[in-house]
């Protein structure tokens, strides 16, 4: 009884692991290069957050993470 339970558990986990190993191995890069933990600071006129379009002139910069949204501009 105990041996049967151990057999079912170990083979069940093996089936799960093999299934996801095949699936993930086919869908992922075969290795992932680490990101640079300290990216060099961008300087000059072209400096902007990567992956975003530059904001139009005079536009408000996007809110920082954790900043509470304000309903009205300050001073009103």
């Amino acid at each position: 009884m105990v041996d049967m339970f151990a057999l079912v558990v170990s083979l069940g986990m093996l089936a799960l692991v093999t299934f996801f190993a095949i699936r993930m191995d086919r869908t992922r890069e075969w290795f992932e290069r680490p990101r640079n933990p300290n990216p060099p600071p961008k300087v000059g006129a072209g400096a902007r957050m990567q992956g975003r379009f530059p904001a139009p002139r005079g536009a408000k910069p996007p809110a920082a993470p954790g900043q509470r949204p304000t309903r009205f501009p300050a001073g009103r």
């Binding site: 105990v2 083979l11 089936a15 692991v17 190993a21 680490p34 640079n36 933990p37 300290n38």
Partner: protein
């Protein structure tokens, strides 16, 4: 019923190689630790399961998966040297026929260990390799762990369905492997990607790790308590909060003593009384013989050289005039190596251990503080702890040419090779600039800094 399930698992792993070639190598690791030929005798009893799976693994790699081979590192050089030396000792073996039998399985173990780093290269594959091995052994370890928790087990009880002297059927080997797996299981509990359901992952690996304590107790082997003390010491040494860890280790020890059966405690109390205990005294006498044998035969006596020993045992209750034992195995990896492989073979084996621990230390150090490689950092630590526990346990059992040591060497090398690949700068290839200009950015690579070269990571880690 169980025969059919085991047969389906075997065939599934064999055919899985057609989809992803590394699955057949997983299958070999599983066969090597699960022993389907003994547990599923009705359908697989007459099939050379390991030979078929091994051949399929090599074929799958050669035909479908030859890419990014590992560099010729210390592991491969020392393994090749060991293979040559093992074969050379057949020339002067004191028991040639018996030596050839052991050489046959030892060579397969060592060759397949050297083959593993070629197949398992990515994080997913490395994890699959570790899990195939641990889940194959899990059939025996989990079963014995549950039996130990229910009954307490006992020394020389028949706990597994394996024949005597096969893999984990030996009690000291089982106790050692059970404790050795604990750091790896706790690593999987945190980092496993192949069990993507957090609840299942945490429950399964925690239960598996916890069951290793009753499993160790159930064997009744004193080797287990040595391994447990070593593991507790390792956790304490590398802990940042030494007082808390120390209290946790002491509490675990107290719980073990409270819940362990009396017969286990009585057996553990005999650790210091080796002269009154036949098993321990025989070990000491064989070790003395092994040192004398190595002095006379510095190149070793080939595999199973211990079969020529003659031990004069002191008088006991049944034999008032003393008695003689012949052909006793050394029951220690170090003395086994000394008698069989001589000083050169022992030096090669110790060099492999040192090289493995050194490579794991380098991985651990280089990945410190790199978020994407945190898993490498933790895996290197878990592997090093497991290897040290294995070394402690194998002092009392001859397992130098069983798969556990060689699996650990290969696993450490695959992790260090992974790190070398991901941190080495990409080599420029002809036409790469044109390809990069025309192709869209790779989705797997993050923005903000991009990939870094080996030196950069090394400096910052």
């Amino acid at each position: 019923m169980s025969d059919i399930i085991i047969f389906l698992a075997y065939v599934g792993l064999l055919l899985g190689g057609f989809v992803s070639p590394f699955v057949t190598s997983m299958g070999y690791l599983w066969v090597d630790s699960f022993y389907p030929q003994y547990l599923g005798r009705a359908l697989l009893g007459s099939v050379p399961v390991a030979a078929v799976m091994g051949a399929a693994a090599v074929l799958a790699y050669v035909l479908m998966d030859r890419k990014a081979p590992p560099r010729m590192g210390m592991f491969l050089i020392l393994t090749a040297a060991m293979l040559l030396w093992m074969t050379a000792t057949l020339l002067w073996a004191v028991r040639p026929d018996a030596a050839f039998l052991k050489w046959d399985f030892a060579v397969k173990t060592v060759v397949f260990a050297a083959f593993l780093p070629f197949v398992f290269r990515s994080r997913i594959q490395i994890e699959a390799m570790l899990l195939a091995h641990m889940l194959g052994s899990g059939m025996h370890l989990i079963g014995v762990g549950i039996k130990g928790a229910l009954t307490g087990g006992g020394y020389q009880w028949r706990l597994t369905q394996l024949p005597d002297d096969t893999g984990l059927a030996e009690t000291s080997a089982m106790a050692t492997v059970a404790i050795m797996f604990i750091p790896l299981l706790l690593y999987m509990r945190t980092h496993s990607q192949l069990v993507p359901f957090p609840l299942i992952r945490k429950v399964f690996f925690t239960c598996y790790a916890l069951l290793m304590i009753p499993c160790m107790i159930a064997t009744g082997a004193r080797t287990g308590i040595v391994c447990l003390v070593v593991l507790g010491g390792l956790y304490w040494v590398q802990s940042k909060r030494k007082v808390v860890t120390g209290i946790a280790v002491v509490m675990l020890a107290v719980l073990v003593v409270i819940f362990a059966p009396d017969r286990w405690k009585e057996r553990m109390e005999t650790i210091g009384e080796y002269k009154a205990d036949t098993s321990a005294l025989t070990r000491v006498l064989v070790w003395q013989w092994a040192i004398d044998f190595a002095k006379d035969n510095p190149l070793g006596g080939g595999f199973r050289a211990y079969e020529v020993n003659v031990l004069h045992m002191p008088p006991d209750g049944w034999n008032p005039e003393g008695w003689i034992q012949r052909g006793r195995a050394p029951h220690s990896t170090w003395f086994e190596l000394l008698t069989e492989m001589g000083w050169p073979g022992t030096a090669l084996f110790l060099s492999l251990i040192v090289a493995t621990l050194w490579s794991l230390y380098r991985v651990w150090k280089r990945t410190r503080g790199v978020e994407e490689l945190l898993w490498c950092h933790d895996l290197a630590r878990a592997l090093a702890m497991s290897l040290v526990v294995l070394m402690a346990g194998s002092t009392f059992i001859g397992i130098g040419f069983k798969s556990w040591y060689w699996f650990m060497f290969a696993a450490a090398f695959t992790v260090s090779e992974y790190l070398r690949r991901v941190t080495s700068p990409e080599k420029p290839r002809p036409g790469l600039a044109v390809q990069a200009a025309m192709s869209p950015p790779r989705p797997g690579l993050p923005a903000g800094g991009g990939p870094v070269g080996g030196l950069a990571v090394r400096r910052r880690a």
